[in-house]
């Protein structure tokens, strides 16, 4: 119990790292020639990373038998939401400067923005229902079903990244592969569970 508390605190501090780095960089003016682009890129990539890390918690827990890891999942998921919110805020505020007409046009007309925006919209209910009270209210089964949307959000996030790059698709491709592996692991556990327990509900959420 004390172990997981310490680890939680460390993971929490580490998760603030990218934000601290950007804030210090903005303060010192060391984010390069195009700081708004740097902030947009960085918050976007960290959203995707946190989503994938969150989705990796359950498979890792199964693999290692370290069941307390699940206590980190909500926090990591909320960090994904937090960086996603910063990413969106950067776009709305710093990049477009509240030009709602231009933003609406982007969301409708630019497929990569449509994908990214949809991913964020999907994350909102997940963040809202992340508390223990909400899990109780929804019931474990419904909650787990709802939170499978995290996979859809991550997939949309990868697509958002992929459609944005001009030429070098290697970085988004790497995230796509990671996501595919995580999905595959989940499917394998699901079917194994089906086979062995025959009819029992699949264990674990997203």
């Amino acid at each position: 119990m004390r172990g997981i508390r310490l680890i939680s605190a460390l993971v929490f501090a580490a998760s603030l790292g990218p934000l601290a780095y950007l804030s210090l960089g903005a303060w010192h003016g060391s984010l390069g020639a195009n700081p708004i682009e740097t902030i947009t890129r960085s918050t976007g990539v960290w959203t995707l990373r946190f989503l994938l890390i969150t989705l990796a918690v359950t498979p890792l827990r199964r693999l290692t038998g370290w069941n307390e890891a699940v206590r980190l999942r909500r926090m990591l998921g909320l960090f994904a939401f937090c960086y996603g919110s910063l990413h969106l805020a950067t776009y709305v505020w710093l990049d477009q400067f509240f030009d709602w007409a231009a933003i609406a046009k982007d969301v409708v007309k630019r497929p990569f923005i449509t994908a990214g925006f949809s991913a964020y919209v999907l994350l909102v209910p997940l963040a809202i229902t992340s508390s223990a009270g909400m899990i109780r209210r929804l019931g474990g089964r419904n909650w787990r079903r709802l939170h499978r949307l995290a996979y859809v959000a991550a997939a949309l996030g990868v697509v958002h990244y992929w459609w944005l790059v001009k030429l070098d698709t290697r970085p988004p491709r790497n995230y796509a592969v990671l996501l595919a592996v995580l999905l595959l692991v989940r499917l394998v556990t699901f079917y194994r569970g089906q086979a062995s327990k025959s009819g029992a509900a699949p264990a674990g959420g997203a």
């Binding site: 003016g29 060391s30 390069g32 195009n34 708004i36 231009a102 070098d168």
Partner: protein, 315 residues
């Protein structure tokens, strides 16, 4: 701060005083203790100091009533995929790029083809400073004081034949020196092209310097094209071949994504990139976006080149 840096760089590499004092960054840095000076600034001094001043440059040939983008930004924020895909890669990876000796082949439909040493190619021309806007297709822009000469003067010397209608430019292909060329993101070497009348337009220049100094490697040393009314990627860097042709050349970007990048690629706020808007741009160093100007603000000079053309079709 200048003094402590000076001890570890050769005197030939120290930035000339005038340029130095002009820089806002330096004034800012002088006001704070040396210990607090930022890594970025130190880096800019080292970078700035590596280039030689170009003598006999006629200033004021083309000026602009807009503040030039600081040297530090112009030389650290580059798209030059031969040296890497990130904006900071070229400045990092092009440090050891050898630009001496440098030969440029001028051939194709000309009466006087030839292989020229860079010095011989440049020597007959009077060098001018031209302050131009640079608008990247990615919707950011800069203002850069180039040093160069009109391409048309070079073409005149080569004597184009009557059948010549286009000019094709090629960048050096040397994957050992250019690590980006080891990735197959584009079909190397990089190729660009212009119509002969575009190439012969007085605004089209071959540049050998910026801010009065020889081009840093990451900016396309030792010789690059600058076509200020077109998206930046048309202004091909580190040119080794200039070929006159009867057929319209296929540029590298056109070959890679024809639905996104056309042959003309004129700056046009009314024709969006399929994936993003071109209506506005972020001038490097500014917070609010600017409206992108037709032909990047050079419509008075160049619109005539495209009279009667459907620019939505010929993007």
């Amino acid at each position: 701060m200048l003094i402590t840096r000076a001890s570890d760089v050769r005197s030939s590499e120290i930035t000339d005083e005038k340029l130095y004092l002009r820089r806002r960054e330096f004034m800012k840095a002088a006001a704070v203790p040396a210990a607090a000076a930022l890594a970025g600034l130190t880096q800019s001094i080292v970078l700035a100091s590596g280039q030689d001043a170009i003598p006999n440059v006629r200033k004021g040939a083309v000026t602009l009533n807009e503040a030039p983008t600081p040297w530090e930004d112009v030389t650290t924020y580059n798209n030059f995929y031969e040296f890497g895909m990130d904006k900071g890669d070229p400045a990092r990876n092009a440090k050891k790029f050898r630009t001496k000796p440098w030969t440029v082949k001028v051939d194709g439909l000309v009466n006087k083809p030839g292989d020229y040493h860079l010095e011989d190619l440049v020597a007959p021309h009077a060098l001018e400073e031209r302050v131009y806007r640079l608008r990247c297709v990615e919707a950011w822009s800069m203002v850069i004081p180039w040093v160069g000469f009109p391409l048309k003067d070079l073409l005149k010397r080569a004597e184009p034949q009557s059948g010549a209608q286009f000019v094709e430019f090629t960048t050096l292909h040397d994957p050992r020196q250019m690590p980006g060329q080891r990735l197959d993101v584009l079909d190397w070497p990089y190729v660009e092209g212009l119509r002969l009348d575009e190439a012969g337009h007085p605004l089209t220049i071959l540049a050998i310097g910026l801010y009065g100094k020889t081009l840093p490697n990451q900016n396309g040393a030792p010789l690059r094209l600058v076509v200020p009314w077109k998206y930046g990627f048309k202004s091909i860097k580190s040119v080794v071949r200039i070929r006159l042709t009867a057929k319209q050349p296929v540029s590298s970007w056109q070959a890679s994504a024809p639905q996104e990048y056309g042959f003309y690629s004129n700056v046009n706020p009314d024709v969006d990139h399929p994936r993003w808007s071109q209506a506005r741009e972020r001038r490097i160093g500014e917070f609010f976006k600017r409206k992108t100007l037709m032909f990047n603000g050079y419509a008075d000079q160049v619109a005539g080149l495209y009279a009667g053309m459907d620019l939505k079709k010929h993007y």
